[in-house]
């Protein structure tokens, strides 16, 4: 009776939905099949459900049907209407009889091919990238982790989207408390729909940080696995090629996927360059404004004369001049992101030649300001995941520096650092291993030691297995 009630409710729920297909079959007992046309693969329905049912002539119970006819790889019980809806909308074919009900996996495999992710191109190393299909993504992880310790906890989030989410971790490395905490947070999410993993990332940051992102994201399975091997937990969201990694440290932004396939010394040099670029990007415009407005004595004499010659005819104050450059840069960047790639190149040319060159020739903006703005702008892209935040910070610091001078810049830097060091997510301090100082973790921070010398897992990431080997 219970099964019939579920069937009745399902039919009521989907009576006005043309893509819901209901079919009656007599194979000794009356069987009702329900499937969603757009989510199911016809061939699978035919092979795993219809053909066996047609050949089975004298069934006596649904249980017998389930045991004898189900050639589908995954068969799940239907216990209530909620389970039925979830399985139905995910592409399962529901099989109802008088004394039982079950669902057979007939999901269609739609989606793009596995390609190199455009956000994480590498010269060396694997080129596979995650796709939008959860199952494929889990396969990409499983392919690299052929161990029984690789565990997955599934959850469903989204009132209307019923998005499947998998929490992946290595049982003998990850801290179970962190895993439980993440699963708990996922279960507590109350949201209409989840269209991408970035929706989930907001809920996985308990302190709701304003400025910096607190959840790592990667499109590459090798990176996700490397992070799991350090004790992190991966959250894979159906429909998103971005896999979330937790806990997340700021130093991860300095690390590039190709770092681990290069020589350690080259990696160290590259990371140091990225760090210097970011610091310069944020502080250079502010320092330029401060030095020009208040403390020009700091600038060497010859350099100062050059700057003065280039800026004497500019009608704006150095601060306004620099703000114009920074805002124009941000407008161009934003427009470039939204444009189709072919038009984007033209836009870059217009920005660089027409706006920049013409503005300098017209005497509206000085060449040093354009140079500083451009250098700062290019530097931002060495940390591509934080470009927007860093851009915002440089504008704010430039403004404060222009008003308060070097004291303003110093106070801004101190305030930002205080904010950053106070952040902590899932027991991992945001600026570790530098604040707090964890010397052992500096083996793979800004500097990198050769892989053979990295014996211990990072202490800043909670884990239950301290050593990588031995």
């Amino acid at each position: 009776m219970k099964e019939q009630n579920i069937l009745q409710q399902m039919q009521e729920l989907y009576q006005s939905n043309d893509e819901a297909i209901t079919r009656q079959i007599d194979c000794g007992i009356q069987i009702t099949l329900m499937s969603l046309e757009t989510m199911c693969d016809d061939k699978k329905i035919s092979a795993f459900v219809l053909q066996p049912l047609v050949y089975l002539q004298e069934a006596t119970s649904v249980q017998q049907v389930r045991l004898k006819i189900s050639t589908g790889a995954i068969v799940k019980d239907i216990t209530n209407v909620y389970t039925a809806v979830e399985l139905f909308t995910n592409g399962y074919t529901l099989v109802f009889g008088a004394d039982g009900a079950f669902a057979v996996d007939t999901r269609t495999t739609l989606g793009r091919a596995i390609i190199e992710p455009p956000t994480s191109m590498v010269m060396k190393g694997p080129r596979e990238g995650f796709v939008e299909d959860l199952k494929v993504n889990i396969t990409l992880l499983r392919k690299r982790l052929k161990t029984e310790h690789f565990k997955i906890v599934n959850a469903t989030v989204g009132k209307y989207t019923n998005t499947s989410i998998s929490v992946c971790y290595l049982q003998t490395i990850a801290d179970q408390r962190i895993v439980d905490n993440i699963v708990q947070r996922l279960q507590n999410i109350n949201i209409d729909g989840v269209l991408d993993s970035s929706y989930i990332s907001k809920y996985l940051d308990p302190s709701r940080t304003v400025l910096f992102r607190r959840v790592g994201m990667t499109e590459k399975p090798d990176i996700a696995v490397a992070k799991m091997l350090e004790g992190r937990v991966c959250v894979v969201v159906d429909g998103s090629p971005m896999v979330l990694t937790l806990p997340y440290l700021y130093v991860e932004d300095l690390q590039s996927p190709s770092d681990y396939y290069e020589n350690a010394s080259i990696t160290t040099l590259n990371r140091a360059l990225r760090f210097i670029s970011v610091v310069l990007s944020v502080l250079l415009p502010a320092l330029y404004v401060c030095l020009q407005m208040y403390n020009y004595q700091i600038i060497p004499l010859k350099f100062l004369i050059t700057i003065l010659n280039a800026t004497e005819a500019i009608p704006f104050s150095p601060m306004v001049e620099m703000m114009i450059v920074l805002i124009i840069f941000d407008i161009l960047r934003e427009a470039n992101l939204r444009m189709p790639s072919a038009v984007g190149i033209s836009l870059s040319l217009v920005g660089a030649i027409v706006l920049g060159d013409a503005a300098v020739k017209a005497g509206l903006i000085g060449a040093p300001a354009v140079m500083i703005g451009a250098l700062s702008g290019i530097g931002l892209f060495t940390m591509p995941n934080n470009t927007f935040i860093l851009s915002l910070l440089r504008i704010a610091i430039t403004l404060i520096g222009g008003i308060m001078g070097i004291l303003g810049v110093i106070l801004s830097v101190v305030a930002i650092l205080i904010y950053m060091v106070s952040l902590q997510n899932y027991q991992a301090p945001f600026l570790a291993p530098y604040a707090p100082n964890i010397p052992a973790d500096k083996q793979d921070a800004v500097g990198q030691r050769p892989l053979t010398e990295q014996v211990e897992r990072p202490r800043s990431i909670p884990n239950v297995n301290k050593r990588r080997r031995g």
Binding site: Y294, N295, Q297, I298, I299, P300, L301, K302, F303, L304, M404, G405, I406, L407, G408, V409, I410, L411, V413, V414, A415, L417, I418, Y419, V421, S422, P429, L431, Y434, A435, P436, N437
Partner: protein
């Protein structure tokens, strides 16, 4: 105990190293050179010896504080409510007056160095806001910023001192003790106001995470900080000789000497700007401690740092608008030398004993199930 205020012993050491220089390499060298000439470094050394002894006692007290009792709890249990309030009042006045002297010397440094003649109120408000923000995020954040920047700050000071260090003739410090041992000792006592930076440790007694090694990290940092201050003082006196009492802002004058023979611009101002971060940290720490004094004095149980208390402390800092700090400060120090010496030099010697007693009392209360 709030987790965000938790600090490690090594972080205490780093903070002590950073805040020790402060005014000691800014206006103090000229002040003391006025009294004892080239023997000013001896006054500094002697004062650091007192500090070293007191710091050792304070650390000993921290080690004995097994029950993680707050400083005020220890005072309550040993000298009573009234006694503890008197001590807190003295501390509050000490912190505020040191804040004023620190900010004032910084203000003058900005005016002289960076040609920024801003209003005093406009100068202190941003610093107060940053201090408030830092206290809101917890003392742990302040300690972590110290850890993050200690290398570049120390390097910036050393970069300023390194060049003149090899230019001066140290034999000019001879004869040692020319001003007379009595005078040197007297000056080290009368100028004690500028020392004992370790007093902030009192207000963290309940939040310090004690490890096996408690003395060596802090004492090593203290000795390094003391060495930097003494060497800077020596270099300053040797560079400017009889003119040093008039030179006032020592660090700037040393920087000026470093760049005087180059045409590479005032790069010393950049290193000075980095060093100022340690002064900002000192301001933040003293603000934090003054705020703690007020909280405990009035029995406020604030989950977060209270904005009104902060505003009150900031309001006390506008004193220099109405009086000349240069004129009033010596008289003020003269009047307050005894109460200040009580908390700076006598209290540390008593703290291990008081901590032990109050811990035993606390333990016996717990044992009795009270």
């Amino acid at each position: 105990m709030l987790d965000k205020n938790k600090v490690y012993v090594s972080q205490i050491g780093v903070l002590l190293l950073l805040i020790m220089s402060g005014t000691k390499i800014l206006i103090f060298p000229a002040l003391i050179a006025k009294q004892v000439g080239h023997d000013s470094w001896l006054v500094m050394v002697l004062s650091f010896v007192y500090d070293l002894v007191c710091l050792t006692f304070v650390l000993w007290a921290v080690k004995l504080n097994k029950q993680n009792l707050a400083f005020t709890d220890i005072l309550h249990k040993t000298i009573g409510v009234v006694g503890s309030k008197v001590v807190l009042v003295i501390f509050f006045v000490l912190f505020v007056s040191r804040l004023i002297s620190l900010l004032h010397s910084c203000y003058r440094m900005f005016a002289v160095t960076f040609d920024v003649n801003t209003n005093w109120v406009v100068f202190i408000i941003p610093l107060s806001l940053v201090s408030y923000f830092a206290a809101q995020r917890g003392f742990n954040s302040i300690a972590r910023v110290g850890q993050l920047l200690v290398v570049i700050i120390v390097f910036s000071v050393l970069a300023l001192v390194a060049f003149p260090l090899f230019q001066v003739n140290f034999s000019e410090l001879l004869p040692i003790g020319e001003a007379g041992i009595d005078k040197i000792m007297e000056q080290s006592v009368t100028h004690s106001f500028w020392f004992s930076d370790y007093i902030f440790i009192y207000f963290l007694m309940d939040t310090i995470k004690v490890k096996k090694k408690i003395f060596s990290p802090v004492l090593c940092c203290f000795l390094l900080g003391a060495a930097i201050s003494v060497v800077t003082n020596m270099v300053f006196v040797l560079l400017y000789g009889s003119l040093s009492p008039e030179a006032e802002l020592a660090m700037i004058k040393i920087g000026l000497f470093s760049v005087s023979e180059t045409t590479s611009g005032r790069w010393d101002w950049l290193t000075l700007s980095v060093w100022i971060i340690s002064v900002v940290l000192k301001v933040v720490i003293f603000f934090f401690c003054a705020n703690k004094c007020i909280e405990k004095l009035f029995g406020l149980h604030l989950s977060n740092t209270n904005g009104f208390v902060w505003l009150g402390i900031t309001a006390t800092l506008i004193v220099p608008l109405f009086v000349s700090v240069e004129e009033v400060l010596p008289t003020f120090i003269k009047w307050t030398i005894i109460p200040f010496a009580l908390v700076q030099y006598l209290l540390p010697l008593l703290m291990p004993w008081w901590t032990k007693i109050s811990n035993e009392l606390s333990l016996s209360k717990k044992g009795a199930g009270i």
